[in-house]
Symmetry: C2
Subunit: 202 residues, 2 copies
DNA sequence: CTTGCATATGAACAGTACGTCCATATTCTA
DNA sequence: TAGAATATGGACGTACTGTTCATATGCAAG
């Protein structure tokens, strides 16, 4: 009897839909809006409209548009989380940082990442999520690779590996977020050489 | 509570007040709100109410709350814009970066600066203003000091001074904005040594 | 002193978004 | 088959933006 437009695909009107289906539709719509129009456009209203979901539902599952944006972005771009060890530290660092720069510049990650980091400065929940799901894991990965090199005698015993990581990635973030200065992958080798050998005469 | 006393002091009701007087009141109120409650609370509505000004006036003078916040902050904390040269590059860098960290951590600049950089990621006008009035001048100052050292033979001829600056300040911004990791002035000497001598064995 | 311009003011309006509540419809599960 | 879980549309109140308008007042030129 219930000619309900079919559950799949159409607009099912009122009533329950599978939660996973709704979540997926919401995350897809949110990701698209984030990439196409930026974080400003990603409001609960917009996402609900475009996902064919109810705003009430979004409020139930996500505490804020920022949190939804972060989850949508991570669900989409699952960043490569490995750090190959070829034995050549310099080459490995250049490869990793180069991939980061290309991800930012050629795969369109620069705007969403900038905006998410930016919004995190005003949203403690988003800040925690972003640091824990994004910043920290990447830092740990790099740290581990540096630790291996340090044990192999390729880095000084008293080197502060956190500082090395901060200097490598932080330099890029500095240009991207604070200075708004253009850069591309060509800075990476120089950056790595500076981190390894410093700017003072040898 | 609004007595319509004459023009000076009281609440003058309608009509013109000197523009400079209104601007000063607005910037004062905006600065206080920014420091006490953060950038979220700094809306045209709030500032207009607290400054005893009309919202219409704020729209006339500032394009957005972010722009007002930036101007209010710079008007208040006029950061020290000199970079002493004692001849000892390492000591000068430690002094400068140490002052920066203390400014952030002990003078309450961390939250407003983080929030302004954050908001700049979503507001191109604010981003430009912030980079031009804040980031770039500081970088130029540091670059100039490094250039002197380079001419004196304290840095390699082929050293990339922009990279050195990015590695020093960027490392701190990285911890503050991306990792949300605590830090204090004690990292500064190590940071400078890494920038000067690198992490590889000498 | 008069006149006219510049400017601040209050008020109102539409638009958008948030956050919350409700009754209802539907699906899932026991 | 019955009840729990959950999505839905709708409504409400609040807050902020961005704009327009008429009005009041300071300032400066004549």
């Amino acid at each position: 009897m219930s000619e309900n437009e079919t559950a799949t695909g159409g607009r099912p009107g009122r009533g329950r839909r599978p939660a996973t289906e709704v979540r997926a539709a919401v995350l897809t719509a949110a990701g698209r809006i984030l990439l196409d129009e930026g974080l400003q456009a990603l409001t609960f209203d917009r996402v609900a409209r475009e996902a064919g979901a109810s705003r009430t539902t979004l409020h139930k599952w996500w505490p804020s548009p920022g949190a939804l944006a972060a989850e949508a972005y991570f669900a989409r771009s699952r960043p490569v989380l490995d750090f190959p060890d070829t034995g050549d530290l310099r080459a490995d660092l250049i490869a990793q940082l180069g991939a980061f720069v290309r991800w930012l510049k050629e795969e369109g990650a620069e705007r969403p990442v900038s905006q998410l980091v930016g919004a995190a400065q005003l949203d403690p929940g988003l800040a925690r999520a972003f640091a824990e799901e994004y910043g920290r894991p990447r830092r740990e990965l790099a740290r581990a690779r540096l630790r291996t090199a340090q044990r192999a005698g390729l880095l000084r015993e008293d080197a502060d590996l956190d500082i090395v990581v901060d200097q490598l990635w932080g330099a890029l973030y500095h240009r991207m977020l604070v200075l708004k200065a253009p850069f591309d992958a060509s800075v990476v080798p120089r950056l790595v050489d500076h981190a390894l050998h410093g700017a003072a005469p040898r």
